[in-house]
Symmetry: D2
Subunit: 355 residues, 4 copies
């Protein structure tokens, strides 16, 4: 074992039992095996999934086994590592892919580990990053250039979702609609523009999010509660519809819009999760239009990470407008309340206080 | 104008008015323009669409403008052609792509003419091939090698649907399910096997069709009314599901099965038209599985035609089991009755009597 | 025929006979057929091919049949058109694809018209655009948004070469080298950056061109006569080499560099024409590295044109640094001399004087 | 550690020193680590590389460090395995991917492990399979269905080369030429036919190989020493040339032929290794024709293995004609002599005598 931590305990956000809420507790620093890396967390960020876990909704009740330390978006420094680890050294600046793929199923062995049959997610299935330390298998560590800001390094997981979605098909010189402007949708606007989308429509009812979409340089920001999105998109695209829709909301209205505004031969990439069945007219919506509909899950391991790193290093992405709040970890519950207001977008959490 | 016909009139199947039925009538041989080809029809074949037109169902009421000569699957000989035609001569053995694309829309100008915004279909929008002669624009004529049997040459339109669907994604060394074994589904079995699909599941409730599916060399023929299709497919695929589903039925149960049996990362290609909305759980059915769903329309102009011709010439396709009936054109109404029984698959029509 | 020109004659650059040089002559305004468009040329631009024709080198001697009006890059206004033309009206702002494909060969019928077996090039095989008027088939006319500057509209042909080359494979978040910074190479720098290339190496010996490459925002501009290009590229790419090489020079040294600096699994897209054989070690240069080498010809009809138009309209391309000279058509021979100095890049020609 | 071998020593082919030749020696059964599998070799097969090692040619002198047990094509039974191995049990029927990729380089992390920067090959860089036992990392073990014949199971490595090459681009309904009919070329004929190639030209000067090519169902077998290959291919392809060339010889004449007979827009996949530079006219051979040239290395891990297994299980491949000799391991040197005659194709080696 190389490296070490003098402390024996740490502070962490803990979901202690099968009920709503979470607590800040002092717990043992986790142990790690010969192929693991112990990372001192610098910044973690909050995902919608964390709110589901906090609220203990139906999804959480089916998936989560307390006690659990949540948190699956973060960056930090290597504090220690197991004997068989060769690719990092103490102090390295890192983030991590939190989907731990089995490596043995068909999908894993054919370059599709992001849809591994046996995936475990750190921060969902095992203890995560809302803590002073987190343990990550060496295979999942992503080393970062020190020139990448910590704030950006803490949001690579959702940025990776956006990069994966945008680059799941042709995008250069295309018109693109992003339906739903949560953090991943907002990131997708920036990514799409950076890789050559020539016009980007952001479709969002929440005015806070719509404002950020404008700051992300969306060409058109449309509010379906107030505007006829279909007609405006048709007018701006010469009656064709958009080449690509990135569906980030998972809401039935949003999905309906996606199928209405995509052009013949276009692509709809679905990332936003739905909670109930949605009805489609397959003939009109898919077959006669000859479109392609893709389900998007996670991030490609590790192609998306290379792409994301290259985009960040080249300075092509301005993500600052998405980061609306920075809080010390002890105020985790306040962050949950902020999220519920719909005013916050990405909230950063500092296990050792905001620096 | 080169070539000529001595006759002035011909027999044709005519849909005379906005009502069910059709008649055999003597009508004028159609005139043709400088870029058109007049073809003497040798064999035509009957599509499900022709039954819709005959029955005068809702779709037909919205689309068809009688009087109309239906028929969009055929082969024949060049009888005459306009002054600007350069690529055929009298007596050439030909078939034709009956989707006449505009050539000027985005789709036409980017290799996607099969989803042209302004397509006209001969035999649906203008007079077709259930007649002794039919007029086809030179651009849409497909010259055939005389070694290709007339029976096969008359069914290139639906065979092309099958080829387009099968080859819309990777297929070599894949497991494939064909849901729905009408003629196009049956052709798809033969095509999939010919291009390297390593196991083909045919899923069909009609026993006549199931029998033909076996003759087409499907590896497994499953009857969802009697068997647990999902469980059998999972057992035969090591618990994975199939790599590719070719959906040819358009029935809600069939589409449900398609999503249930496709593997993570697999492809569903939808060709079968649906008449009502279908409900999907997008998260479970598409997103978590990371699948791709494609709408398939027509045939690629003219890539599919080259592919189909090469497959036929190489002798890789045995399509005979699908051709169940051969009738003289005067018995057209009897053919319609045969189709309604569900016992017939592809019915060939001979404008000059069965040869 | 719609529209008309009052004049009967026009000025044009004419290659009168099989010898070096060219003359400005008064010639008849060309006649046009029922499917043609007569365009009044606003701006034409000069290609390296025009210099070959002017110099009457070996290639020109084999290909060109004087008398000929050269010129295949231009924009203008519709002056008149044939009876069967439906898609333009007088005064429309247009450019054109000057490769007139046959429409009947395998390549044309399968979306590969840019490598048509029977292509004729306007300005090379028939009279071109260094004239007050030029005749173009309607199928090849490209209508332009009036917001696109005339200077850019006159260089769509070489810009299209660049767009086709850049987008012939994955490019987003990739490192890219452009070997050879003639106008197409310079355009390729701008296009690659606009569609998400994260670092662009421009490799060029001529200092004038190198200066423009810097103005086009290349991240690194390297002079192989003075620097070790291989070592610098390796250093800047973490020892990997670049993901993509766009070979625009056709020089043996440049091609050697392309193979030396591309990474394992990378892409080399070859556009620059070579005049003599080049020797490669296939095992080391291609096979062990598992690279892909593509021959690039012309522009995709008309996908490239849509892409190019979208990129221009969105303001993602600054091409001004490439346009170094603007001359009235009467000074055509002076333009040829300027090109020979190596100081000029793209030279614009004004048939009616510089506006 | 699970499983065990009672013996302590085994017989193996050993390259004892830096010189031509090899010996059968009694050596220690190799030890294995916690993530390794010890396999009892049933059948191994001989590759051209083994002859290079035996002959101690320039390539071998640069790459091989004696003493070495060669052999990288085999099948066998699991005899024992390390403590951390979870996916096999004693007696399992297995083969293996002998390229041991590093798992940490860009290529490995983006689905391109077959071109890993740091690959080690078992049987080339470390002791291989011409022995009673061989040690393989668990990650590289490929479990086989017992229905697959041992003879086929022993040649998956070169069959994988063929499958990788054939499926490196579109192949269904294409015309294909295989230049060079060593074992991999012969396998490629069978694979191409199985996945829908509609005409296959085998090009080979050696009459023994040509005879086997006919047995593999090549549609045309051409001898460039006696026939005008270019003219025959053009005649049989309607003057177009073939869609795909699979270059398996690495000989300058063969590569010249590949470029001469590929059609505009076609693909050349290069697998055959060359020993000296080859000269190409890039403009005529690649650029004007708009072709794609690919370097092919190894087999995709593990997509090719899944494809190959599916093709074998479905019975689509008859490989028997390629297996010309079966020898007990003690006669290894005789096998080398047989190979030199050019009469043998694939030779199988039995460490425990021919069964």
């Amino acid at each position: 074992m190389a490296g070490a931590t003098r402390e024996r305990t740490m502070l962490a956000v803990v979901k202690p039992e099968k009920a709503a809420g979470a607590e800040i507790r002092e717990v043992k620093i986790p142990t790690f095996g010969p192929t693991d890396v112990l990372v001192k967390v610098k910044v973690a960020s909050i995902c919608g999934t964390d709110l589901h876990i906090y609220n203990w909704d139906r999804w959480a009740q089916n998936r989560i086994h307390p006690p659990l330390i949540p948190g699956h978006e973060f960056c930090g420094e290597v504090a220690a590592f197991g004997d068989e680890v060769t690719s990092v050294k103490e102090g390295d600046f890192v983030s991590a892919e939190m989907h731990v793929a089995c490596g043995k199923c068909l999908q894993c062995r054919t370059g599709e580990a992001h849809i591994c049959q046996n995936v475990k997610i750190i921060g969902v299935d095992t203890d995560g990053a809302f803590a002073e330390y987190v343990v990550i298998p060496e295979s999942n560590i992503w080393k970062l250039d020190p020139t990448i800001p910590q704030e950006y390094a803490s949001i690579l997981d959702p940025l990776g979702n956006a990069v994966h979605t945008v680059l799941a098909g042709e995008i250069a010189a295309k018109s693109v609609a992003v339906t739903g402007c949560g953090p991943i949708g907002l990131f997708a606007i920036a990514v799409a523009k950076a890789v050559g989308a020539t016009s980007v429509f952001a479709i969002e009812v929440n005015e806070h999010r719509a404002r950020i979409a404008r700051e992300m340089q969306a060409d058109y920001v449309l509010n379906p509660a107030k505007e006829n999105v279909h007609d405006i998109v048709m007018e701006k695209t010469g009656g064709l519809g958009v080449d690509v829709v990135l569906e980030m909301a998972g809401h039935p209205d949003s999905i309906r819009t996606a199928f209405d505004i995509v052009r013949r031969g276009g692509r709809i990439s679905l990332l936003g999760l739905t909670s109930k069945p949605i009805s489609l007219n397959f003939s009109e919506d898919i077959i006669f239009k000859g479109i392609t509909v893709q389900g998007i899950n996670g991030r490609r391991m590790y192609q998306t990470w290379y792409q994301m790193t290259a985009l960040l290093k080249s300075g092509k992405l301005n993500l600052h407008p998405v980061i609306t709040d920075r809080i010390p970890m002890k105020d985790f519950s306040k962050a949950m309340e902020r999220l519920k207001t719909g005013e916050a977008s990405k909230i950063l959490v500092y296990p050792n206080g905001v620096r």
